[in-house]
Structure formats: C-alpha cells, structure tokens
Amino acid sequence: MTNTDLKEQLKKIIVEELNLEEIEPGEIKDDDPLFGDEGLGLDSLDAVELVVLIQKHFSVEIKDMEEGREALASIDSLADFINTRQAD
C-alpha cells in the first residue's frame, strides 16, 4: 500500500467508523489537526475508538500519551507512525 493509499484509507476509516457528519473523506487535508478546536475537532472519546481502529486495521498499537500526541496530530503523522511501526 502506498503512502497516499494509506492516507485515503485513514480518512475513510475516520469518517465512516467515527460517523463524522457533514464531511467527506476527500475534504480532509493531510495536515489538518485531528483533535482540538481546529481541524476535525475529534475528542477524547473519539480517540478511544480511533486507537482501537488503528490496531484493528493496521495491527499497530498506540500505547501512551507521548506516542499518541505525535501520531494523532494529523493524517500525515498517523500515516508516518503506521509506516514506521509496520516496518519495525
């Protein structure tokens, strides 16, 4: 899977499995913040699901705050994190 494919899949998972309304996967920019008041505006309960979804789809675990803060910043960073972990 190319990096572009991975990012598209991530956007699809986020929109469809987190039931985001009023947005299509294609509307999410790669560098949009996923959490907080800007960007997608996901919250801590979304994070619970997203972490489990990442594990389910990519067999990659996000175990703590430090990892999570970096990995869950944007689609770009999440794709990088998954690529790095899968390569290990």
């Binding site: 960007g39 505006g41 996901l42 919250d43 619970v48 699901e49 703590d64």
Partner: protein, 310 residues
Amino acid sequence: MSIKKRTETTENWSSRSIGTGWQHRFFYFLIRLGGRHIAYPFLYPVVLYYLIFRPDQRRKSRYYLDRRFPNRRGFAALKDSYRMIMGLSQSLVDRALVGICGPRILHTEFPKGEQLFNLAATGKGLIILTTHVGCWQAAMIYLSKLERPVHMLMQQDEGDIDRHYFEHSGEKNPFHIIDPTGFLGGTLEMVAALKQGDVVCIMGDRLKGAQENSLAVDFLGSPVKFPLAGWKLAAVTGAPLAILFPLKTGPDHYSIDLAEVINVNPKDARPLQRLHPYLSRYVKSLENLCAKEPYQFFNFYDMWNQDEKI
C-alpha cells in the same frame, strides 16, 4: 476549520480540600498520636464551624440533600447537612488513617470480592467505576489482591483531598495514576491498559471536560449529565465494567458493595446515545445507594445545573 461541533467545557467542581494545610497537618498529627479515637472527636468543632459560620459550605450540601429530602426544612435540614459534612470529614480522616497506618487499620468486608477477582483474572481488562461515595481507600487492600496492574484515572490538584493518602504512606504508590488533564484525557493510556488485561478505575459521577462526552439521565427526579468515558472504554475494549461502592458501616468498618457488573455491547459504542441504557443502570444503582445510605454520597456541587461554578 472545526468539523465536529464542540460544546463548552465544564469545570464545575474541584477536588481541592476546603481545609488549609495546617488544619490537615493537625489532623495527621492527631492520627499519628492516637488514630481515629483521637482524631474523630476533633471533627465535632470543625464540622460545627463549617455548619454555622460557613453558610457557603453548608449551601453546597443542599444541592444534593434538597433532592434527596425535598420536604426537609429548618432544623431537620440543618441536621442533614451536619450528617453529610460529618460523613465526609470522617471519610477524610479514614483516608489519612489508611495512608498513615496502612489499609489493615480499617476492617473492610467485600462480600462479592471473589466475583471481582475472577473478572480481573480473565485477562480481558476490567473497568472499576467508582463514585464519590464512602472512602475508596478502604478498598485498597482488595485492589491489591487483583493480581493485575491497577491504573487510576485521578486528577491530583495541589491540595487534592485524595492526594493526601499518598503523601502519608511513604511507600511506593501501588497504583499507576493516569492524569485526566493529560493529552486526550488519558484515554490512550486507559485503552492500552485494558488491552493488556489491566484494571482501570475511573470515576463515574462527575463530569470534567467536554459536556458533549456525557449523557443526561434522571437522577433523584431531574436530569444530570454523567460522563461516558468508562462506558465508551467498555464498549470499545470489551472489558467488563464493575460498579463499586465502598460504604462506611461502622466507626472503623467498611463494606465494599459490588453493585453490578455490566458488559457493554461493542455495537453500542456509537452513537453515544446507545450507551444510555447502561448508564441508566449505574444511575439506578446510585439512587439505590442514596436511598440506603443518604449521607455517604459526597457531592457538594449542583450536579443538576452543570454550568454552575463552585
């Protein structure tokens, strides 16, 4: 751009003690001097002071008591406030007592303990939903027997009343504390802990943070917003959720009530409204507890009006 609509956050309660540092140190001194027998009598003047000369503090007891005893007026209402404030004060002494003298200083029964130990032993993870009831430190001796790492979601403000336990013991904290003010409210650490089969303790009765992560359920006659973190974790990780109430049953006796074990169907993780039936079961348990032990539910803020600051 913010795609998800966000609602305002609420910071309508604080875990800070209303007592000053020297007041706490005085009670710690009394406990070291002669334990509960010396410390308890000194609570009478302190509680009477707050009852008579601190109407702001007395009023805080009325939010809950006016719902629990809607027809009480005058002296009867004052007596209710006294019993509730005294109950909390004794609980604070008991917490410090456990910290200073160790958990065996209290005689704690856990009639359904085996059920909880078996749940933890399955390795599927276990969520213990706690409430501001009684004295959770009384349950410490049993939590240590779970034979699984225990993580507690606990905010430790400067002056936090629960922090006092750890200040005394001088021993390594047997539990891992997860800070709810950390990144994403500590959810990543909680998910990781449950996924490796650990035990996570989380408060079920106070909303801190985004109001959108809550659902309103009727409690004592009117809707109250309760946090959903525990329920969401249970749905997503498949870990069972146990509702525990550590109740004071005598001067140095506690009994841990395992009120209910709830398994949340993963299909109910979203939308959040699907968690309502599970949350309602918890609130029903809490109402039953308030009916049975009305002075052991220690919520001194208006949980029915969650926008109010204290």
